[in-house]
Symmetry: C2
Subunit: 275 residues, 2 copies
C-alpha cells in the first residue's frame, strides 16, 4: 500500500505527564552490614519505587544496587539492565545547587534538568534518588525538582529515612526552630568565624544549628566545635542512624570537654548545637 493511500492519522492527544517521585534510600550505603530494606522503607514507598523504570541518581552503580534490594521484595517490571538510569550532571550535582542563585531567579531552568525529565513528557514516572536518605535534602536534586514543577509535573515525596532529621529529633535540641547549614568552611579561621556566628544566632533566637561534614574531616570539625563554642552551648552528634551501631550523644560543650572522644573518620555524622 502506497504511503498516500494511508488514511490521515488522527492527532494523538499528548500523554498525561508522568510524576517525579522522590525516593529515599537506606542510610547504610557502603556499610558492611545491611538490614533488609523493609526495615527502613515503608510498604507504600517500596511498592511505588518498584513500579518506576526511569531513574535519575547521583551514581548509576549505587542506584542499581538499590533497585536490586527492592527487587528482593517487589519484583521489578524490567530487569536491572533494562532500567533507564541517568546520572545528575556534575554542575547540578555539586553542593548547594541553589545556594546564592539569586541571579537566576525567574530565568528559565537549566536545560540539563529538562533533558533528564524528558521521560515525564512521554508519560513515564521518574524516580529521583540520592546516595543515602532523602534526595534534595542535604543532597543534590532540588534543581531537578524545580524543573519538574516548571513543567507542570506532579512531584511526590515518599517516606523514608532522613539522617539530618533523625539526628535533630534525637538531639534534645530545639526542633521547633532549626537550620541545616550544610558544610562549614574548611579553612580553620573561616570555620571558626562561621561557627561563632551560627552560635550567636542560636543564643539570640533559640534556633538549633545543624551541619554535616565529609567523614574524614569529622575529627577536625569536632575539635573546632569543642574549642570554638561557648561552654554552655549544647552540642549533639549522631552517627550510624538506623543501624545497629546508631549513636546519638548530647551534652554541653563544657561536659564534652571532659570526654576524650572523637567522631569516627569513616562514618557519616550529623552535628547540631544550640541552647
Amino acid at each position: 500500500m502506497s504511503q498516500s493511500a494511508q488514511p490521515a492519522q488522527p492527532a494523538q492527544p499528548a500523554p498525561a505527564l508522568g510524576r517525579l517521585y522522590l525516593v529515599p534510600t537506606p542510610l547504610d550505603f557502603g556499610c558492611a552490614q545491611q538490614a533488609p530494606i523493609t526495615d527502613v522503607l515503608p510498604a507504600a514507598s517500596l511498592r511505588q519505587a518498584a513500579q518506576i523504570t526511569y531513574w535519575v541518581c547521583e551514581n548509576a552503580k549505587s542506584c542499581r544496587a538499590f533497585l536490586k534490594r527492592i527487587n528482593e521484595h517487589h519484583p521489578l517490571p524490567l530487569p536491572l539492565q533494562e532500567q533507564h538510569i541517568a546520572e545528575l550532571p556534575r554542575h547540578i550535582h555539586k553542593k548547594g545547587d541553589h545556594a546564592g542563585s539569586k541571579a537566576q531567579a525567574g530565568k528559565p531552568v537549566a536545560s540539563p534538568a529538562q533533558q533528564l525529565l524528558a521521560p515525564l513528557r512521554q508519560g513515564h514516572d521518574i524516580g529521583l534518588v540520592s546516595e543515602a536518605g532523602m534526595p534534595a535534602i542535604a543532597d543534590p536534586g532540588s534543581s531537578l525538582v524545580r524543573a519538574a514543577h516548571d513543567m507542570g509535573a506532579q512531584v511526590v515525596p515518599l517516606v523514608g529515612p532522613v539522617s539530618v532529621l533523625l539526628a535533630l529529633a534525637a538531639s534534645g535540641l530545639n526542633g521547633q526552630n532549626f537550620a541545616f547549614v550544610g558544610y562549614l568552611p574548611q579553612e580553620a579561621s573561616a570555620r571558626l568565624q562561621r561557627l561563632r556566628s551560627l552560635e550567636n544566632l542560636a543564643h539570640k533566637t533559640g534556633q538549633t544549628q545543624i551541619c554535616i561534614e565529609t567523614p574524614y574531616r569529622n575529627p577536625a570539625l569536632w575539635q573546632a566545635l569543642l574549642q570554638g563554642l561557648q561552654p554552655s552551648t549544647r552540642l549533639a552528634v549522631a552517627s550510624g542512624l538506623t543501624l545497629a551501631s546508631a549513636d546519638v550523644q548530647s551534652r554541653s560543650v563544657q561536659a564534652w570537654r571532659r570526654f576524650d572522644w572523637l567522631p569516627d573518620k569513616n562514618t557519616p555524622c550529623v552535628f547540631a548545637w544550640g541552647v
Copy 2:
C-alpha cells in the same frame, strides 16, 4: 515464718537504663480516610514500637488510637488499657519549648521531664509520640529528649514521615541550606516584618525558609505571603503529604499571583520560600 527469720536480701544491682524511642506516627491524624500504618512506617519502626509499653504523648486518646493501629500488624504485649500512657504537661507541651531558653542553659532539667522518664530507671523503654509525624520536630518533646540524655539514657529515633522534610524535598527549593522557623507572628504588621526579614535572609544566603500555621489561619498566612514577598521569590506549599490527596505546588510569587487559589483551612500545610 517470722520476718526476722528471713535471710537478708542481697543488694539488687540497679537495672540497666531503658531507652527513649522517638516513634513517628502517620500524618493522617483526624483524616476521614487512613491508609494501613505499614504504608508509612517501615517494619523496624513498627516492630520496635510494638514492644514498648510505656508512652509519653501529647494526647492519650490519640496515642491509644495509634497503638490500636500498630496492634493490627504486631500484637501488643499488653492490652491497650494496661499500657502506661502519660501526657506531656502543658508547659513542656507548648510551642517552642526551648526557644529563647538561653537563661536556662546549664541549669538542671525541669523535674516534670525527669518524672515522665522515671520508668527508664526501672529498665523500661519509653516511646515518645506526637500527634502526627516525628516527635520533637515541629512538635513538643525535645525537653524530654534532653532530660533522657542528661540521665545517660540511650535515645533512638525511628524512621517515619516528617511533613516538614517531605515538603522541603518536594518544593524544588534549596535543601542544602534551610531553616524551619515554626509559626510566624499572628499580628499582620509583625508577620509582614518577620516574612520580609526571612526573605532577605533567603536572598542573601540562599537559605530556604519553612513555616507552618494552625490550619484555620492558612488562608490569612497565604495572603500575607503573596502580598509581602517579592515577585521573584519562589514559594511552595504542601498539603496532604502521604495521603492520596497529597499536593505540592511551587512557583514564583509573581506566577502565584495569577492563580485564584487559597490553601484549605482544615488541612495542615507546610509553606516554604526562597530563591
